[in-house]
């Protein structure tokens, strides 16, 4: 029963090219990093005394200015970037849902107050905050960076969730749930949010993509993790140590491509999910005689 449903979903997925391509690329990248960690046992920080070697059989992506293997860096970097993306994305979505759903469901004063909070966070100069934080927290792990990004990027989700919840609260099934004695929290958790699951998933994917890009940006100016390797960190190293000028494309092109691919595939995934849930967006070709 479950298997046939799963096959049904797979068949459906094949119809929607965006979803397919997006999830394929993303899965490939994730697998690349996970399998890479298991299989490619080179320590990215080991100095091999062979500086700036272009890609060759023993170093598939060459070495950097210190003689460290770039492939190892990219594998670890991808994994860490994804970690930051997922954690920051989750954090942002959870905070966003908490605040957005509360504001949307209760309305009135609570809504206005939470909107005030949301708007304040929106206008927070994140960069200035991070520079100040960087001054205090000398050693920043990727988790701290993820935390900072998560805690400052939730307003987008909060707004989106609030709007959806606000439109749902006057639906009759909510009234009936109330009149069946369900508490407000119960209604939000059991009736409202599950109804918006697809929406929440899309919020998460978008937050994740934006978090990865945010981390890359932060790392590029040196405010990223101070002791972990992420794709952004690799980019920073390559800029600081003048890889472009030295022609060592193998150091900055691969991380750049992977970051771009992650962002694009997540956005494609999102767009594909949107097509499924919003029939009007479907292109003509999808519907002919099946």
């Amino acid at each position: 029963m479950v298997l046939s449903r799963f096959i049904g979903i797979l068949k459906l997925a094949f119809k929607y090219k965006k979803l397919l391509v997006g999830s394929a690329v993303l899965s490939f990248i994730v697998l690349f990093s996970l399998i890479g960690i298991l299989v490619y046992h080179v320590n990215p920080r080991d100095i091999l005394f062979q500086d700036l070697k272009p890609p060759c059989p023993s170093n598939p992506l060459g070495t950097d200015v210190f003689g460290r293997d770039v492939m190892a860096q990219v594998i670890h970097g991808t994994l860490n970037s994804l970690k930051v993306g997922v954690v920051a994305g989750l954090l942002a979505v959870l905070i966003g849902i908490g605040i957005g759903a509360t504001a949307g469901y209760f309305g009135g004063v609570i809504d206005e107050a939470l909107n005030l909070v949301t708007n304040t966070f929106l206008t927070l100069p994140t960069l200035a905050l991070l520079i100040a934080l960087a001054a205090y927290i000398r050693v920043r792990s990727e988790w701290i960076v993820a935390l900072i990004i998560g805690v400052t990027s939730w307003p987008w989700t909060a707004r989106a969730v609030r709007a959806q919840v606000y439109s749902l609260r006057t639906r009759e099934f909510i009234y009936l749930a109330k009149m069946s004695g369900l508490s407000s929290l119960g209604i939000i958790l059991l009736e409202v949010l599950p109804n918006m699951l697809s929406y929440i998933i899309m919020c998460f994917t978008l937050q994740m993509a934006s978090a990865i890009l945010a981390e890359t940006g932060l790392s590029a100016i040196g405010l990223g993790p101070s002791d972990a390797i992420t794709l952004g960190v690799i980019l920073r190293w390559s800029i600081v140590w003048e890889a472009p000028r030295l022609g060592a494309w193998w150091w900055f092109v691969p991380p750049g491509i992977i970051i771009t691919l992650i962002a694009v595939s997540v956005l494609l995934l999102n767009s594909g999910l949107d097509e499924i849930y919003n029939p009007r967006l479907r292109r003509r070709g999808l519907e002919k005689g099946s």
Partner: protein, 324 residues
């Protein structure tokens, strides 16, 4: 009498994740000049899809399978989409879909909406001043003051919006106006006014040559229609003059529909009215034979075979073996 609309054996439907819904399965219809024809049917019978198929407004996930539709001198399906848009829609035929009053662009003033619509049809051959003059005249004929032109849709009441939509749809004096449940979202008093206006448009002012009025409410249809088509599960099951069909219904479905009408008569207080048990069939896999048979009190063995529309005299048609 000249036939203005001639639809023959139209067949079509739309794709859903669960399969293809054959919403219209071989329906024919004719409208003569200055006639108001009603299509009565309940939810899911295909009447709205029928309207769209008639005018060729079919885009995926909707598809037409076969059949012809001739409006005026235009054979709808012989024209490509762009030609239909240019020569047919808004010009020779206008469709007012259900809830269309909510389709007025809320960010535009009525005058801008009207000019857009007219310019799109007639191109540069008509200036916006001329278009607005036409609009003003038409609005006045429908009982709306010219101030409406400068308002936004949100400032208008339901009835006013509906009348505005009718004004815009009939600006170019189409041969055929199709109104799909135009009164369902309105209060009773506004409904009456709207029915009056539609009647005037066709019968007295000649602004619209013919009208097809689609509704689930037969008492409403009674008010302005000359002839009635009863639609059930994608098929036409009865046709006739409106008074005849309502006073002397032939098809068991029509009888059931009429029996379920609550009239404001004293007798109604004491009796128990009966509806039609069961529900309409699934149009993805419609049953073989007569589609009403599962719910019909007079079903026989013969009903396993689909009854054609049988002529029982004087343009009265019934799709039922009881009248073979």
């Amino acid at each position: 009498m000249k036939k203005v609309v001639n639809v023959v054996n139209l067949r079509g439907g739309y794709e859903t994740p669960l399969g293809f819904v054959r919403a219209v399965d071989g329906c024919s219809l004719e409208v003569y000049e200055r006639e108001i024809v009603g299509i009565a049917g309940e939810s899911g019978c295909g009447k709205s899809t029928f309207a769209r198929l008639m005018i060729g407004y079919v885009k995926p996930p909707a598809y037409v399978i076969n059949g012809t539709s001739i409006i005026g001198d235009i054979n709808v399906y012989s024209l490509p989409w762009e030609e239909r848009r240019r020569r047919l829609w808004g010009v020779k035929v206008s469709l007012i879909p259900q809830y269309s009053m909510n389709a007025l662009n809320p960010t535009k003033k009525i005058r801008d909406i009207i000019v857009d619509v007219v310019r799109e049809r007639k191109g540069k051959s008509i200036s916006s001043r001329e278009a607005l003059a036409m609009a003003k005249a038409r609005l006045e004929e429908l009982g709306l003051s010219e101030e409406v032109l400068n308002m936004y849709p949100i400032e208008l009441s339901g009835g006013m919006k509906q009348r505005t939509v009718i004004a815009i749809s009939t600006l170019l004096n189409p041969l055929l106006l199709i109104a799909d449940e135009p009164t369902s979202a309105l209060d009773v008093s506004t409904q009456k006014l709207l029915l009056f206006l539609l009647y005037e448009l066709v019968k007295r002012r000649g602004i619209v040559e013919t009208l097809i009025f689609i509704s689930h409410d037969i008492a409403t249809l009674r008010q302005i229609c000359d002839r009635l088509y009863i639609m059930y599960a994608g098929r036409i099951v009865e046709v006739g003059g409106i008074e005849e069909v309502l006073k002397n219904p032939l098809h068991p479905y029509t009888k059931g529909l009429i029996r379920a009408v609550i009239s404001l008569q004293p007798e109604v207080r004491g009796i128990t009215l009966r509806g039609i048990p069961g529900s309409p069939p699934d149009l993805i896999n419609p049953p073989k034979g007569c589609r009403f048979a599962p719910r019909c009190p007079s079903a026989k063995d013969k009903c396993k075979e689909e009854p054609p529309l049988i002529n029982v005299g004087g343009r009265r048609l019934v799709a039922c073996w009881l009248y073979d």
